[in-house]
Symmetry: C2
């Protein structure tokens, strides 16, 4: 890093490159710093309930290692089998269980690495509480490789979760499903996960998995995970069809395969991850339907709707790729503006990277962005680290 | 704030002044900006499970208001009846339930206010996930009034907690109690609170409350709160004396009265709140005993030991105040160095303010502090806001 500063050579830190916003793509000159082989588990500490790892550890390898010790890490994005912890920290990754258990940043107790000028840092440690000074650790989390290169991460772990129930419900229309979800969230319970899927998602997964689900005829689906102690009141929506099943893992496999399946039923697609207050989900879903009706594409909202985080996929099923390339940025801007008009944000878990950079001024004031650039200059005075990402 | 910038007049933002580190004290020229009367509850939103308040709302008023709606806010410092939410956010306040439920910052979804230069900001909202740009909201939390003045706070709320059990245990010596606590934390359970009190704390409360507790003869005490579903295994320490009681609220009153009671049994005292990894609690408590033996004062560790956050009170029971004033800074420095040598931090929940400012270089590198000062300059270019706090 010191050499890079001397020669003003950009460094683009990269894990396994699973990011959805292009944050790890070397779009200009520079050197990619791959941390894939910094993949050692340095320490598992059952008394302090922590694990310390290098950034290249694959999330599912970490989950397996702590499972053997009777410990648990709740952050579980769909890419768990191939994403790295370093990437999770760089993007503050979420996933379905964020609804109850929070996101990556809520579990990071300590970070070591180097700032943009090459000086070493060590922030936090095996400490559950730390309010000394400004929260530089939290600032590095989600900074997408623009402030420092992280070389060691200490995470807080939990004991295994209480017994859970998995529930799958089908609905006759999308708005029935959204109404049911909001009614569930208004009850005196805290769901662990609440994943919403319009019927077209299941049709795509059926085709991708070469199978047929007996419940795929419903227009919308909700996968709910609740502590076993909760008793759900189904009378809140008579048109909720409870689906019986044997294997909850197969249901999760449906949910996890949606993103990949949708690429097989479209010529091209893009994935946004706006987040809105849950009370605005009905308006958001109506707005997406309106965009579908008014455009030549399908604007599909699915995913972690329980925490308001909607994966809006824009699918191109029949338009020439040249037309898509022209239309796509306008559609994305309309989707993001729709989310922001409902009190939402650009990104719930994917980050800004390259693809959402143009939309930053829609959410932040000029002063906010000036402050962010000023912060970047403190950590990385020569703009060495991932210089073309998050903002220009 | 714009006027203050024009005349380079410092502004010291203040709630009810309950801070333990002097962060709200106007130690130099300047104007105190009291937010005590900005105490309106602006909005309670049961669907999004949020409350939006002005910063001067007293925490217990907030707790009462949301209780009526069947909602719950877990952060509950001992000063709940007189501290303000704004102060909680400014210091990232903790409290006993932080062990399971986290601290203030984990519940702040949105902030509005003005930066140090007088420009308005609005960060976040009723959003459970938001990873757009750098986390300026999180940077403001715990910044002790040095970066902005917060005028509106949106907090995440929870449904009421599951049924809980309250357990009080007595021990024949401090190290037995600490060993038991660590054994509890090593079981497959997540305690809600684990408050540790050497016997001298109870003696002080007895004198302050003018009462006698039948269990106060024990050398150490542990107040545990657990979900009712957990079954504690007492065989982990035979010399644990389970105390029977009728009224758990009276036990909490003991815990809450300790700080005040100790002022009545000493000529002078000071309160630190270092945090260490829980595995280092035995070494920390031994170190405090050593300091007591080697000095003319009592170095007493009590409080939220379950999350490693130890309220170290230094009590002066018989020395002239002039001697205390000379000795006290040296003792505090030894206590903080002891904590840091065990992998700990200066402050778990009180903040740095004025009193811990000299010790910042013991925990942070020169480069860390330079970055923090650079960040301060982005938010508050003329050093108007609380300019003599956190660092010089």
């Amino acid at each position: 890093v010191k050499l890079a500063n001397k020669y003003l050579m950009p460094l683009i830190t990269r894990g396994t490159g699973t990011g959805k916003a292009g944050g790890a793509i070397p779009d200009k000159n520079g050197v990619v710093v791959s941390l894939e082989r910094m993949n050692r588990i340095l320490n598992i500490d059952p008394i302090n309930r922590t694990i310390t790892v290098e950034p290249g550890v694959i999330l599912s390898d970490l989950q397996e290692a702590i499972g053997k010790e009777g410990l648990w890490y709740p952050v579980d994005p769909a890419s768990a089998d191939w994403c790295t912890i370093g990437g999770n920290v760089a993007c503050n990754a979420g996933g379905p269980r964020a609804l109850k258990y929070g996101v990556t940043g809520d579990y990071v107790l300590g970070l070591k690495g180097v700032y943009g000028d090459g000086t070493f840092f060590q922030l936090g440690g095996k400490l559950l509480k730390d309010v000394a000074g400004y929260d530089l650790k939290r600032l590095l989390i989600g900074s997408e490789g623009t402030l420092g290169i992280i070389t060691s991460i200490t995470l807080k772990l939990l004991p295994p979760p209480p017994p859970e129930q998995v529930i799958w419900c089908g609905f006759d229309c999308i708005s029935d499903g959204i109404d049911f979800l909001i009614a569930v969230l208004s009850q005196n319970i805290q769901p662990t996960a609440a994943e919403f899927m319009p019927g077209v998602c299941l049709k795509a997964v059926e085709s991708y998995q070469k199978t047929v689900f007996p419940f795929s005829h419903h227009a919308a689906h909700l996968l709910l995970v609740l502590d076993a102690r909760y008793q759900l009141d189904y009378s809140i929506l008579p048109s909720c069809h409870r689906v019986q099943f044997d294997n909850p893992e197969a249901l999760w496999a449906i949910r996890r395969d949606i993103s990949e399946s949708l690429t097989h039923v479209s010529i091209s697609k893009c994935s946004e991850d706006i987040t809105v207050p849950v009370s605005q989900l009905p308006a958001l879903m109506r707005g997406l339907q309106r965009l579908t009706d008014q455009s030549d594409y399908v604007c599909l909202g699915y995913g972690h709707l329980g925490d308001g985080n909607v994966h809006v996929n824009v699918l191109n099923t029949d338009q020439p790729i040249e037309k898509w390339q022209i239309d796509q940025p306008y559609l994305v801007e309309r989707i993001i503006k729709l989310g922001i008009s409902l009190g939402g944000t650009l990104s719930g878990e994917h980050g800004i990277g390259l693809t959402k950079k143009p939309y930053m001024p829609l959410y932040f004031s000029e002063r906010d962005i000036t402050i962010m650039k000023g912060i970047k200059a403190q950590f990385d005075p020569n703009h060495i680290l991932n210089p073309s990402k998050v903002f220009d």
